[in-house]
């Protein structure tokens, strides 16, 4: 156990300062094997921003290549992952052999007024956490791969030309959705929030999924979510992890939820007779009554390491329950299929969703967890990627809001980096500014971070509080003392 004091917070002159968050400077993908001699630009598969002059692109890529080559001499298996400079940081990732992805992030800036009134710019070199942004870079690849397959596959299918097209098409939009200023510990974990549920309701969902797979018979995998939290994944963990990220940070937020209007909304009253249900497609046809409705679904690629499967992703939602049906890409879902799916899944999913809602409220009342927990904590389990945070508010497509000061978030990140260095279980308690305590606990493959704010608390009291938290929130799992 290590206790350390970290002075953090804004000074008395904060009001006169202007702060600029970290920002994406450039992002490029290259392969050193493509044209090493003549035509250096052939190496570059994608470069953002595209407006940059060709020679500068070549120069920057060449620099990265050199750094990686150089560091390889010291550590052949683990070349450099990042490069720190005063103004920025570069992150390197080789997701497929010889394919390099580089992300350059400008350090946060504080602009101060000097005595003569001239602005002085100060780069905050130590603010960014390597692990956070390395993870963001890896996530970029995973997201690309989910919708496009591997780089290699694109090469096989249509050579460099196709690969470049795909990269351009994907990253052009995707990079705009990177919000580097709000990346934190959760990006390192890339976890999945699971919906807490009693056994019986869970079994009902299982039964529902199995029946749907049987009656729709072309469904290969199914995933089930409620309230943007996962309940079931037929996909393997790593594929689900990135699909979950896509669903919860991109697809779901894009759809305004009519169910938020509540049960007594006029929508319900207008529904005709027995056939009423709230099911609708989040991907695919918008209006099933339109004979010209397009039944185009996003394609996703899973199990790329072995079976390499290409699938259509059908996301269907009723109230807060969402089901992802994944069908083989060789099968083309017709409008008839979509209508059938709607008529089979819609009513049952609607009933199930209200069952889940009801059961969830009962359980909440019984366990007395209705009231807000007085602890701010982040929990992550490497084994099942389960993630739980009372620090973060609801995710929106633009930004993930935290309810604590960024400095505290940074301490969490630092503790996490410490945990990564050793294999053993450990606990770190940090006394932060203004009566804040931050506790990190690592046990087996689980990590727990707690932020406490208690006046004049001492180490022993803080320790007791964390124990209490573990006993109430995590009494089902094995934590070492």
């Amino acid at each position: 156990m290590a206790a350390a004091a970290a002075g953090a917070g804004s000074g008395p002159w904060a009001a006169q300062e202007k702060q600029f968050p970290p920002a994406l400077l450039s992002f490029f993908i290259y392969n050193p094997r493509f044209g090493p001699r003549e035509g250096q630009e052939n190496k570059i598969l994608f470069y953002h921003p595209n407006e940059v002059e060709k020679n500068e692109k070549i120069r920057n890529v060449g620099l990265c290549e050199a750094i990686v080559q150089f560091t390889r001499t010291f550590s052949p298996s683990k070349p450099a992952k990042s490069l720190h400079t005063q103004k920025n940081r570069q992150f390197f990732n080789e997701p497929e052999e010889n394919f390099w992805m580089v992300m350059v992030v400008r350090n946060p800036i504080i602009e101060k007024q000097s005595k003569d009134g001239k602005p002085v710019i100060e780069y905050q070199e130590e603010e960014l956490l390597d692990k956070v942004y390395s993870s963001v870079l890896r996530q970029c690849y995973s997201m690309y791969k989910l919708f496009n397959g591997t780089f290699l596959k694109a090469m096989e299918d249509g050579g460099v030309k196709l690969l470049k097209e795909r990269l351009e098409k994907f990253f052009h939009r995707y990079l705009q959705t990177l919000h580097l200023q709000s990346c934190d510990l959760l990006d390192i974990f890339g976890g999945i929030s699971f919906f807490p549920l009693d056994k019986m309701t869970y079994l009902k969902i299982q039964s529902f999924i199995n029946r749907m797979e049987e009656s729709l018979n072309i469904v290969k995998y199914t995933a089930f979510l409620y309230n943007d939290q996962l309940i079931w994944s037929g996909l393997e963990q790593d594929d689900m992890r990135i699909l979950y990220k896509y669903l919860t940070t991109s697809l779901f937020p894009r759809h305004i939820e009519p169910e938020l209007a509540g049960r007594d909304s006029p929508i319900r009253a207008e529904m005709p007779g027995n056939l009423q249900h709230y099911g609708r497609f989040l991907t695919g046809p918008l209006n099933l009554n339109d004979p010209d409705a397009k039944c185009r679904f996003p394609k996703i690629f899973v199990n790329t390491d072995d079976t390499y499967e290409e699938l259509h992703l059908i996301v269907y939602k009723a109230m807060s329950a969402a089901v992802c049906f994944m069908i083989d890409a060789s099968v083309h879902p017709t409008l008839d299929f979509c209508r059938r799916l709607d008529s089979i899944v819609g009513p049952q999913l609607t009933v199930l969703a209200s069952d889940i809602c009801e059961q969830f409220n009962i359980n909440k009342r019984m366990s007395g967890s209705e009231k807000e927990p007085q602890f701010k904590f982040i929990y992550f389990n490497h084994m099942n990627l389960a993630e739980k945070s009372t620090v973060h508010m609801r995710k929106t497509p633009s930004v993930s809001l935290t309810s604590v000061h960024p400095d505290l978030m940074k301490i969490l990140g630092d503790i996490n980096s410490d945990f990564t260095r050793v294999d053993e279980d450990e606990e770190i308690i940090v006394k932060a500014m203004s009566d804040y305590w931050v506790v990190g606990k690592k046990s087996d493959r689980r990590e727990l971070y707690v932020i406490l704010n208690q006046k004049n608390a001492n180490l022993i009291e803080v320790n007791e509080e964390v124990k209490k938290l573990c006993a109430t929130q995590f009494n089902n799992i094995f934590f070492l003392d």
Binding site: F194, L197, K199, M200, Y202, L203, K204, Q206, S207, N210, R211, E213, E214, S215, I231, W232, S233, G234, E236, Q237, N381, M383, N384, A386, D444, R445, R446, K467, C470, A471, N475, N476, I477, F478, F479, L480, D481
Partner: protein, 595 residues
């Protein structure tokens, strides 16, 4: 029509007796189910054969005139013989008692005895055309004592020995029925009731015929069954059987109508709580189950035959005696013969051939005749010998060729577990009552009977699921879906799932490398914690490292659950526990819950 199609059969070993002929009179006693063959009025011998005793009782009696009725009292203690319309003769068959005959004349003046019924080993009822007389027989005194009598005009009577109820037909139309119930020396009059006769042409006088009435116990309740023939004046599509429920207390009530959709000559049997209606014209039979869902019109439930009409399975008369030695082939028996006489509940007698059969229902052929699996289960679960058939239905619906859809499988499991749960609840409340010491004070408290319809997890596991998961050709998705469906059903009925079912799920998932699925199931506690399961997980660690964590979590919860039935000692987990100790020390193992 294949042989496997017949769902009714005559029993293999009938009671055989000497055929009726001018010198040999045959009588049947419904109470003891005995056939009496009386040769020359008894002078050349009386042979009594029952269904159970293979050793017939033989004796002689003096020929004192034509025998009208002959019956043993219960336990064959006293023989009663009616030879005249005024008297009944008695003869003791009790050792050390005089075997000299004694006679009782009916008390009512000018009355004619229609018949008599034994209601116990020493109690007898005379039914006369003017009422009934209830006597106690005193064998040692060779005399009878009148216990009670009741006067009313009687057209005919009917006796149901199982419920000790005698039904008397009264009034001119014969359709007002007066039941009496007998028990330990008492005779009680039950409320009389009227059978509605179908409208008949004005020219003919309607009346209720004895032939159209039967009494039988169905699902523990006494019913009067009335065969209402098709009347041309009404627009009914055929004859029907009307079931009047005759409760112990309270008035008789019309409850069910069985639609026959045909006309002609019918006979009724009740087998395994099923009403069997034989139709002589087509030589087929149909069965009705009043527990199956019918159409309820607010007061009466209408039922249709459970299955299409079928003949009783063709029957070969076995050749016994010297003829059997010869190569003579067995003789096919004429079914639905006009010489057949049918008795309740399940007896068919051919007096001309000298056979008494019990009618039996064969369940196996029904499996293929009833395509609706839910209805099939409802039907089978009410049958006495249903267990193996139900298990085979379960196996069949999971087989590749006859695979049922998951909703159907779910329905079947739910029906099984509904029965199973009912039994478990009854067991539990019995155990609680015994514990509370109510067993002595309340004689009504009986240990619940476990019928064949109670199929527990071990039955389903042994006979259905364990073989099912071994089938290589089964898609594993289906296998897992079925196992989860069974577990869901058990949970829905709040039945604790046995760990071997969980192990089956784990085994299947592991075999197909579906570790992530397994992980998710454990995460939601679908596979309940138990020490064997925790140990099993620990053993999987080398294939799937997260199993280690799952196992430790379970063992930790185990610490808290000590004493719960899931964690009974002696599960041979010592080696794993030792391993746990070695890694984490004694403290971790002994520590109470908080950490």
């Amino acid at each position: 029509m294949g042989e496997e199609d017949y769902y009714l059969e005559l029993c293999e070993r009938p009671v055989q007796f000497e055929k009726a002929n001018p010198v040999n009179c045959v009588f049947f006693d419904e109470a003891n189910k005995q056939v009496f063959a009386v040769r020359s009025g008894g002078a050349t011998g009386v042979v009594v054969k029952g269904p159970d005793d293979r050793n017939p009782i033989s004796f002689r009696m003096d020929d004192k005139g034509e025998v009208k009725c002959i019956k043993f009292s219960l336990e064959n203690k006293i023989l009663a013989v009616q030879r005249t319309s005024k008297t009944v003769d008695f003869c003791n068959f009790i050792p050390d008692n005089s075997q000299l005959e004694y006679t009782q004349e009916c008390k009512t003046k000018n009355a004619n005895i229609l018949g008599f019924c034994w209601t116990s080993s020493t109690e007898i009822v005379f039914i006369t055309d003017q009422g009934i007389e209830f006597y106690q027989v005193l064998p040692e005194k060779r005399s009878l004592k009148l216990l009670k009598s009741h006067n009313l005009n009687v057209n005919w009577y009917m006796y149901c020995p199982e419920s000790a109820v005698i039904l008397l037909s009264t009034t001119v139309l014969e359709n007002v029925l007066q039941p009496f119930h007998f028990r330990a020396g008492t005779m009680s009059k039950l409320p009389k009731f009227e059978i509605e006769l179908p409208a008949a042409p004005k020219s003919t006088k309607p009346s209720l015929s004895e032939r159209d009435i039967a009494m039988a116990t169905i699902y523990g309740q006494l019913y009067v069954l009335f065969l209402r023939h098709h009347s041309r004046t009404s627009n009914s599509t055929g004859a029907e059987v009307v079931l009047y429920h005759l409760p112990r207390e309270g008035a008789c009530k019309k409850m069910h109508i069985l639609k026959l959709n045909r006309t002609g000559k019918f006979a009724l049997n009740v087998v395994d709580n099923l009403v069997v209606v034989h139709h002589q014209d087509t030589e087929t039979s149909v069965i009705f189950d009043i527990k199956l869902r019918g159409e309820f019109d607010g007061s009466v439930t209408f039922h249709h035959p459970v299955l299409p009409a079928r003949s009783i399975q063709p029957y070969q008369i076995p050749i016994t005696g010297p003829a059997a030695v010869t190569s003579q082939s067995p003789v096919p028996c004429k079914l639905y013969s006009s010489s057949w006489i049918v008795f309740q509940p399940d007896i068919i007698i051919s007096a001309s051939q000298g056979y008494l059969w019990n009618l039996q229902v064969k369940l196996e052929p029904i499996v293929n005749l009833l395509p609706d699996k839910g209805r099939l289960m409802d039907f089978l679960l009410q049958r006495k010998e249903c267990k193996m058939v139900i298990l085979s239905v379960c196996s069949q619906m999971l087989s590749e060729s006859d695979r049922a859809s998951l909703p159907v499988i779910a329905t079947v499991f739910d029906k099984l577990n509904h029965e199973y749960k009912k039994y478990l609840d009854a067991e539990q409340s019995y155990a609680m009552a015994v514990e509370a010491g109510q067993s002595r004070s309340s004689p009504l408290l009986k240990r619940p009977v476990r019928t064949q319809a109670v199929l527990d997890q071990s039955d389903v596991y042994t006979h259905v699921l364990s073989a099912f998961v071994e089938k290589k050709e089964m898609p594993h998705k289906f296998v897992i879906a079925v196992l989860m469906e069974y577990i869901r059903s058990l949970n829905q009925f709040q039945i604790a799932v046995q760990h071997y079912l969980h192990e089956l799920v784990i085994k299947t998932l592991v075999q197909h490398n579906l570790f992530y699925m397994l992980h998710q199931f454990l995460q939601y506690h679908v596979l309940s914690d138990s020490k064997p399961l925790a140990c099993l997980l620990l053993s999987l660690e080398s294939f799937y490292p997260p199993a280690h964590q799952l196992s430790l979590d379970m063992l930790k919860r185990n610490q808290r659950l000590r004493g719960s039935p899931n964690f009974t000692p002696g599960e041979h987990c010592e080696e794993h526990v030792a391993f746990f100790k070695q890694i984490f020390g004694d403290q971790a193992l002994m520590r109470p819950t908080t950490f």
